[in-house]
Amino acid sequence: MMRKILSLAWLNAVQLVRNPAEVVGVIVLPLALTMLFGSAFAAGQASDIRVLFVDEDDTTYSAQVGELIDAEESLRIEDATRVDAETEIAAGDAGVAVLVPRGFADALERGSATIEVMRNPNSQNGFAIVSVVQGIATRMSGNAAAARVVAATPALKADFDDVYQTADAKWSPRPPVYAEASQVVASEVRGDSVIAEGTTQSSIGFTVWFILFMTFGSAGGILEEREQGTLRRLMVAPVSRTTILTGKVVGTVLAATVQALILVLVGAFGFGVPWGNDPLAVVMVLGAYILAGTGLAVMVSALVRTRDQMSGLSPLVSTALAMVGGCMWPLEIVSPFMQTAAKLTPTGWAVMGLTDVVFRNQGVEAAMVPTLVLLGFAGVMLGIGVKMLKFE
C-alpha cells in the first residue's frame, strides 16, 4: 500500500516537472512579486519618497528647511515652482509639496513665519511628511525665539543671525532630547533599519499566496486524469480509491513543500527575511498550512467539472483568499470587519502565525493556535473533498 501511494505521489511530481511553465509560475512569479511589493512597502529603503520643495525666499533660512527635509532618512527633495507643485499635486503625480514663501527670513526674525504644505489627501505618506515639517518648524521656532530675545536686547549687541546659528548648532550631533525607536523581538533588539520589514511582509504573504497556486495546480491533475481516462484505468488495477487519493494528496503536499522550501530559502538568503529564527515553529505553521491548502484544492476539484474550470477558478480563489488573509498588505491597515474576515480563511491564519513566528520570533508556543486552526481547516476541507470527488 505504501509503495503504491509513493508511486502515485511520484507520478504527480513527474507530471509537474514535465510542465516547466507551471513550475516557473509557482516559483519565479512569487519571488518577482516579493521583490516588487517588498520595495514598494519598504518606504525609504528601496526608493525615497519624493517631496516637492518650492523655495521662493532663497535665503539661508529657507534653504535650511529644504536641507532638513532632505536629511530625513526616507525623504528626498526635488526643487519645483509653485505652479508645478500645484499641478502635480492636483493630478496626484506627487503626494506632498513644501513651500517656503517670499519674505520667510524676515518673517522669522519678526516671529511670524509660515511654511506652507500642500498635500494630496489620497497620498499615504502625507501624514508622515507633514509631521516631519512640523518638527522642522519647531526647531526653527526654538532657535528664533532665543535669537529674537537676545537681538532685542541692545545691551547684548548680538545679531539675530549669529544667535540663531549658535542655537541651531545645539541640535547636532544630537538634540537635547531625542527618541530612539527600535523593534523589540524576543531575546534580541533589532535596530530601526536592520530588518527589511517590507520584504518580510511580502515574503510571508507571497509564500502563503502561491502555495495555493501549487496545491491547486497539483490537485487539479486528478481532473486531468479523469478527463483523459487514465483515472479509470487506475481504478481497474488492484488499487483502492483511498490509496489513489492518498497518493494524490501526498504528492500535492510534497510538491508544495518543495516550493515552500525554495521560497523560504530565497527569501532568507536573497532578501534577508528572518525565516530562520525558529525553524520548528515555521515548519509547524507552514506544514499545517500546506495541508489546509491541499484540502482546499481537493475540495475545489470535487466541486468543479473540468480541469479548465479548475484552472480558471484557482487564480481567482487564491487571489481572493490572499487579499482577505493579509498576504498583500498588512492586516493592521484594513477595516475591523476585514480583520475579522481574515480569521475565517486559512491564508489569514497562516499570515498571523508566520507574523508571530518570523517577525516577532515568538517561537513554538505562538505557533500552536494557528497550527491547530489550520489543521482543522485541512481536516474539514479534505473530508468534504474526498467525499464529493467523483472518479468517473
Binding site: 510542465n19 516588487l36 509660515t114 499615504q124 526654538g142 532657535n143 532665543a146 523589540v184 487579499m323 491597515i333
Partner: protein, 408 residues
C-alpha cells in the same frame, strides 16, 4: 467573413454553456472589487488604525510627566491610539514583543538629570516588529513631542549663555533672567520659562484636486483591467482543447484559411470579454456606485482595446503552452505581472522607480490609467493614445500567436 463569424459564435456558445466557468468569469471580479474596496476603503484616514500603545514614565524628575501629559491630552493622538499609562517597563516590553501592544514609549529614570547636566537624553520607543504601519506612526508622534522639548531646551540654553556673558548685563525684554539660573519654573529644567515656539508655523494649503476617485472606483478600474485579460486564458484553453481533440485539424482541412480560424477564435474571446466588461461596468455601477465618467463611448473603447489585448494574449498563450495545464501555469504569471506592473494591486506610483519604464509593456497599466482619467472627467481625446497603446500590444500578441501557434 461568414466562416470567421461562425467560429466566433461557436466558441462563444461553448463558453456560455459552461455555466460554472461563466459564473467565475463574471461574478468573481465583482467579489474581488468588493473585497478590495472594503479592505482598503478607509486607507489614508489616520483614525482607522486605533492601535494600542503604552507609556512608561520612570523619570524621577518632572520632565517625564510633562511628556505623558502632552501625549495623553492631544485629541489628534487620541483619535489614532489607545494610550495606556503603565509602570512596568519589562512587562510592556514583553507585550510589545508579543504584538499585544503595537508600540510603547519608555521614559528613562535620568531624563530630567541628563537635561540638567546638558547631556543629550534618549527616550526609548519600542515597536512591534509585526506592525509595519502603526508602530512607525507612534514613533513619529513621539518624535514630534521630543522636538518641542528640544526646542525649548535649546532656546533656554542659548538664552542662558547669552545672558551670562553679556558685555553689559541687563534683563532683556520678554525673558525672565532670574529664572535662567533658578532652573525649572514651568519650563524645561535649565530653562527660564516656557517660550512661545510659534515663530514658524506650518499651514496646509487647499489644493483644488482633480475629481477624486474613491478607493472602490480605483479597484473597479484596476480589477477590470486585470480580469478582462483572464478571458484570454480561457480562450487559450479552448484553442488547446480543440488542438488535442483534433477538431482544430478538422477545421484546417476545410476551405477556411488559418487567418479566418485565428480571427474567429480571437473574436470569440472578444465577445466573451465584451460580455464580461458589460457585467463589470453595470455591476460596479449598481452595486458600488462606481462613476465611470461621462464619456461612455471612451469607456467602451478602452474596454474594447483591453478585450483585444486579451484576444491577443489568448493566441500568444496557445502558442507558448502545449497543454491546458501548462497554460494554467503561465497565464496567471503573465496576467499578474502585467497587473502588478500596471498598478492593479498597489498604486503604480508606489512601485520602485527603476521598474516604471517596464510599465509601458503592460496593457493593464494603460487601461487603468485610461479608466482613472475618464473617472476624473477626462474625454476620449485624453485617453486616445492609451487606447492606441493597448490595441498595439494586443495586435503584437495576436501577431506573435498567429505566427508561432501550431494547429496539430
Amino acid at each position: 467573413m461568414r466562416n470567421l463569424l461562425t467560429i466566433a459564435a461557436k466558441d462563444t456558445r461553448i463558453m456560455v454553456r459552461d455555466r460554472a466557468a461563466l459564473l467565475v468569469m463574471l461574478a468573481m471580479p465583482l467579489g474581488l472589487i468588493f473585497i478590495l474596496g472594503s479592505a482598503l476603503g478607509n486607507l489614508g484616514e489616520g483614525d482607522s488604525l486605533d492601535a494600542e500603545v503604552a507609556i512608561v514614565n520612570d523619570d524621577t524628575g518632572e520632565t517625564g510627566q510633562r511628556f505623558v501629559d502632552a501625549l495623553t491630552s492631544a485629541e489628534e493622538i487620541d483619535a489614532v491610539f489607545n494610550i495606556h499609562v503603565r509602570d512596568d517597563a519589562g512587562e510592556v516590553r514583553t507585550e510589545v514583543e508579543r504584538g499585544d501592544l503595537t508600540a510603547a514609549l519608555v521614559i528613562p529614570a535620568d531624563l530630567t538629570d541628563r537635561i540638567m547636566r546638558g547631556e543629550p537624553a534618549p527616550l526609548e520607543v519600542l515597536q512591534d516588529p509585526g506592525s509595519t504601519v502603526s508602530a512607525g506612526v507612534w514613533a513619529a508622534v513621539v518624535r514630534a513631542g521630543v522636538a518641542q522639548a528640544s526646542a525649548q531646551i535649546v532656546a533656554g540654553h542659548t538664552l542662558a549663555e547669552a545672558l551670562s556673558t553679556p558685555p553689559s548685563a541687563g534683563p532683556p525684554p520678554g525673558a525672565d533672567a532670574s529664572g535662567a539660573s533658578a532652573g525649572v519654573s514651568h519650563g524645561y529644567p535649565g530653562q527660564a520659562q516656557e517660550l512661545e515656539l510659534d515663530a514658524v508655523h506650518v499651514s496646509e494649503l487647499e489644493v483644488e484636486l482633480e475629481k477624486e476617485v474613491s478607493m472602490i472606483s480605483y479597484y473597479a478600474a484596476a480589477m477590470s483591467g486585470m480580469f478582462l485579460l483572464f478571458g484570454g486564458m480561457f480562450g487559450a484553453f479552448s484553442f488547446v482543447r480543440e488542438r488535442r481533440e483534433q477538431t482544430l485539424a478538422r477545421m484546417i482541412s476545410t476551405p477556411s484559411s488559418t487567418a479566418v480560424i485565428v480571427g474567429g477564435k480571437a473574436l470569440g474571446v472578444m465577445l466573451i470579454g465584451a460580455l464580461q466588461f458589460l457585467v463589470l461596468l453595470v455591476g460596479t455601477r449598481m452595486l458600488f456606485q462606481v462613476d465611470w465618467g461621462a464619456d461612455v463611448l471612451a469607456v467602451v473603447l478602452v474596454g474594447f482595446a483591453e478585450v483585444l489585448a486579451a484576444a491577443g494574449l489568448a493566441m500568444a498563450l496557445a502558442a507558448l503552452g502545449k497543454t491546458e495545464r501548462a497554460i494554467g501555469g503561465i497565464a496567471p504569471a503573465f496576467i499578474m505581472l502585467f497587473a502588478a506592473l500596471g498598478g492593479a494591486m498597489i498604486p503604480a506610483e508606489q512601485l520602485p522607480s527603476w521598474l516604471l519604464p517596464a510599465q509601458v509593456f503592460s496593457p493593464v497599466y494603460w487601461t487603468i490609467d485610461s479608466f482613472l482619467q475618464l473617472m476624473q472627467g477626462g474625454a476620449l481625446v485624453d485617453v486616445a493614445p492609451n487606447i492606441g497603446a493597448v490595441a498595439a500590444i494586443g495586435i503584437a500578441l495576436l501577431g506573435f500567436g498567429a505566427w508561432r501557434v501550431r494547429y496539430e
